[in-house]
Amino acid sequence: MQTKHVVLKGTREGLVLYLDPHLEFNILLDEIENNLTKANQFLQGAAVHCYWVEKECSEKQSESLIGILERHGLEFSGWLTAADLPVPEKKIPESTMPEAKRFWEEGIAEAKCLFVEKTLRSGKSINFNGHVLVIGDVNPGAEIIATGNIIVLGVLRGVAHAGVAGERNAVVTAYHLNPTQLRIADHVTRAPDEEVAWRGPEIARISNGKIIVESLV
């Protein structure tokens, strides 16, 4: 989400909402309200930090901002100061990049988990703040959006979006991974156009800035 005066960015620490320091707070609020209304339910359940350069805002202003965020299903997790801001990542040459860490080492091993014990048919949408485990198939036209991992004990033919709040260590696993589209955090990929035969259970995750699919066995 990005407009003239308000920018929402995913960082390693989560989502940060940057506010233009040259503007009146009320105008900024209006713009945030507008943007969130347009942003649909995509951001539901995400936690957001806010940053307004050095300016201090009053308790009342802070409250009305929190109100707007909550009305759109976002969680306010605090103001940031300049010192907290993530330093832009230094480019590391590809060869020296560390191996992507496995997700359970990164602190999302323990989170809420939703069990779905039926096949998700076209038109069904699951939105969950945590992991989602489906015992059944996910058919084309159905979607699962989770802030954590997605595991399908069946055929995944629909759309899966893991780590929707920006968690790049999230993974999508399926007994037969054949999704219409696969998204992890801010990465999107789609299935190859030609039909693929079953290759056994697979796991999709981000490695070196790309979604890769590996065999689980």
Binding site: R121, D137, N139, P140, G141, R157
Partner: protein, 264 residues
């Protein structure tokens, strides 16, 4: 108490009306007391397929709005005295009736008839909700096309949400030649995705077009392959175990010859 069966598909043009007409006629031929209800208000077709268009006096909306008695609106079929049609209104639209009225109507018909077959309109809006309101079970019709299967999948989900569990599947208009060539989805491809019980498979058949135009359901035509498929389905609805029709096409002369000389 009879059974109310809704015939639905989501996608249009896959053969809901033809299926309703044939299953209804087939069940009547087996001696059951059957009523066909057309809920496609504004786009009624079932009367045409049954060849009863010119006998319509009152319709579904006349009944629900109290213009006539239910008995007056039922049209007796030309061929079977135990088969009736309740036609849809052509000059109104889907909002002329609501699910509650439909439920009441179905309960009334159930007392009188062994089978009430409801022809559902295409789509998932009010027409669909009306049609399924009074149903005890559902038949989902699809063709071996990706789009039709997608819509059938959605419909099965919506039926489950409306507590109509375990719908039965009819795969319509399958072309064995194309399936053999690998150019058409086969039965197992479709069942893989939809994962529901199969009621029957109807081969693509020109005689359906002819019988639809004539207003004589193909199920009465002993020479029609599609008619045979419908007859088997009515037997299955009656609770008999009937094998699926053999849709394999015999090898042509050249294929036999090739096999003989070991080219395949």
């Amino acid at each position: 108490m009879g059974e109310v069966i809704v015939v639905t598909s989501g996608k249009g043009g896959v053969g809901k009306t033809t299926t309703s007409a044939n299953l209804g006629t087939g069940l009547a031929a087996l001696g059951q007391k059957v009523v066909l209800v057309d809920t496609d208000i504004g786009l009624r077709n079932l009367d045409v397929v049954m060849g009863l268009e010119n006998r319509i006096v009152y319709d579904l909306i006349d009944v629900t709005s109290g213009n006539c008695k239910l008995k007056q609106s039922l049209i007796k079929d030309k061929r079977f005295a135990n088969l009736y049609l309740l036609p849809a209104a052509q000059t109104k639209d889907k909002s002329a009736i609501d699910p509650e009225q439909m439920l009441k109507l179905c309960q009334e018909l159930k007392k009188e008839f062994d089978y009430t077959i409801i022809d559902c309109p295409a789509g998932i809006e009010q027409g669909f909700r009306n049609a399924i309101a009074g149903a005890d079970c559902a038949i989902v019709v699809t063709t071996p096309e990706v789009s039709a299967v997608r819509d059938a999948d959605r419909i099965i989900g919506l039926l489950e949400a409306a507590e109509l569990y375990n719908p039965k599947l009819i795969i319509n208009r399958i072309k064995p030649v194309m399936v053999k060539r690998g150019d058409m989805m086969d039965i197992s491809d479709i069942l893989d995705i939809l994962a529901i019980d199969l009621l029957g498979v109807v081969p693509d058949d020109e005689s359906i077009v002819i019988s639809t135009n004539k207003g004589e359901p193909a199920v009465m035509n002993k020479a029609s392959k599609a008619g045979e498929a419908y007859r088997r389905m009515t037997d299955r609805i009656r609770g008999e175990e009937v094998p699926l029709m053999n849709l394999d096409i015999p090898d042509s002369f050249f294929e036999k010859f090739k096999k003989l000389i070991g080219m395949r």
